[in-house]
């Protein structure tokens, strides 16, 4: 297996390394096939399946007085539609983008939730590929919406030329270009990735550290328990971070769409 760290004198792989994030294949294939079907792939499939099946069955026979599943689905969708989409994009455009933003938020939340569920315990978003593609989709989306509304030249003029006197524009335009077209997708992806990666790493350090302390010197068991109590506290923190990062990703996507279609100056 790639990346087994050198342990102290014991079998506990401590400290955890980046290589520990590369999981082995679930099915014992070899060659290149042994790289793609890991626990991460299975978790992404399961969360997608949960989302699709839940929303399909919750709306199977919608009633005026909703049952539990329908109420849950309506609450989740209504939260995104009212507080994120319509608030940032206005009534009519907000309704158009609400399905995508709701899917985005719930997909990120369900993927992130695996990082605190036992047995799974790693979020697929701690591999840069998944946040990178979500950020790429958001990037293409807000540029496409802006170009479709204004045409390419006017959209570029709106987003690159700030309201400033003409002689300082050469200093400002590279900054605007860098900030709007390079930093935005990169920071969307890296913010989500780094939070999930660091959270998983922290949980690994405190969990494996407890075991490593025990195996190194059994009389220090009190510190092991302390380490495991920190793990519990960090799991609660991770729960907060999961929802917060999904919310921030969705809000920023909505804000970029709003910025792309707004008439500046």
């Amino acid at each position: 297996m790639i990346g087994q760290a050198v342990a102290l004198q014991s079998d506990v792989p401590f400290p955890p390394e980046v290589g520990d994030f590369y999981l082995p294949s679930i099915v014992p294939w070899d060659g290149l096939n042994s790289l793609w079907f890991t626990k991460i792939t299975a978790l992404v499939w399961i969360s997608t399946a949960i989302l699709i099946i839940f929303f399909l069955t919750a709306y199977r026979k919608p009633k005026m007085v909703p049952g539990k599943a329908q109420w849950l689905a309506e609450s989740a969708y209504g939260f995104v539609r009212d507080n994120i989409s319509i608030e940032m994009l206005g009534a009519e455009r907000g309704l158009r983008f609400a399905p995508y933003l709701a899917s985005l938020l719930l997909f990120i939340v369900f993927n992130n939730l695996w990082s605190i569920v036992p047995i799974a315990q790693i979020s697929p978003n701690s591999h840069i590929a998944f946040p990178a593609f979500l950020a790429l989709i958001s990037y293409v989306l807000f540029n496409y919406v802006g170009i479709k509304k204004f045409g390419f030249r006017k959209y570029m003029r709106n987003s690159l030329i700030p309201p400033a006197p003409w002689f300082v524009l050469p200093i400002l335009i590279p900054i605007e270009f860098f900030s709007t077209f390079l930093v935005r997708p990169f920071s969307l992806a890296v913010r989500l990735f780094a939070n999930m990666f660091a959270g998983h790493m922290l949980l690994l350090v405190f969990t494996l550290g407890g075991f490593a302390i025990l195996q190194a010197n059994a009389k220090l068991a009190a510190f092991s328990v302390l380490s495991w109590l920190m793990t519990i506290a960090l799991t609660l923190l991770e729960l907060l971070v999961i929802f917060l990062q999904a919310y921030v990703f969705t809000v920023l996507t909505a804000s970029y769409i709003q910025g792309a279609v707004s008439e500046e100056h």
């Binding site: 206005g90 009519e92 900054i175 930093v183 804000s255």
Partner: protein, 85 residues
């Protein structure tokens, strides 16, 4: 929320969410982006004229000034007396 009137113009919704977090990230990205872009240009000029780091520093300062100017122009308040929000 429940009692809010819908926005007048579909494209003029205010940019500040109740948390304003997206404005914060924009401000930070203008600052860091300004320093990065002009620091990089300054570094290229440095390698061209072999000035030992001075032009890199000048580029960083110019970029920082540009970033602050952009933050003020894009996110800052219009001067008082030009109409209420």
């Amino acid at each position: 929320m429940a009692g809010d009137p819908p926005s007048q113009d579909p494209d003029k919704t205010p940019d500040a969410t109740p948390t304003g977090a997206d404005l914060g990230w924009t401000a930070l990205s203008y600052l860091i982006g300004g320093m990065a872009v002009w620091g990089f240009i300054g570094w290229l000029v440095d390698r061209w004229v072999h000035s030992g780091g001075i032009t890199t520093g000048i580029g960083v300062v110019i970029g920082c000034a540009g970033g602050i100017y952009l933050v003020i122009k894009r996110i800052g308040a219009p001067p008082p007396g030009s109409g209420s929000s």
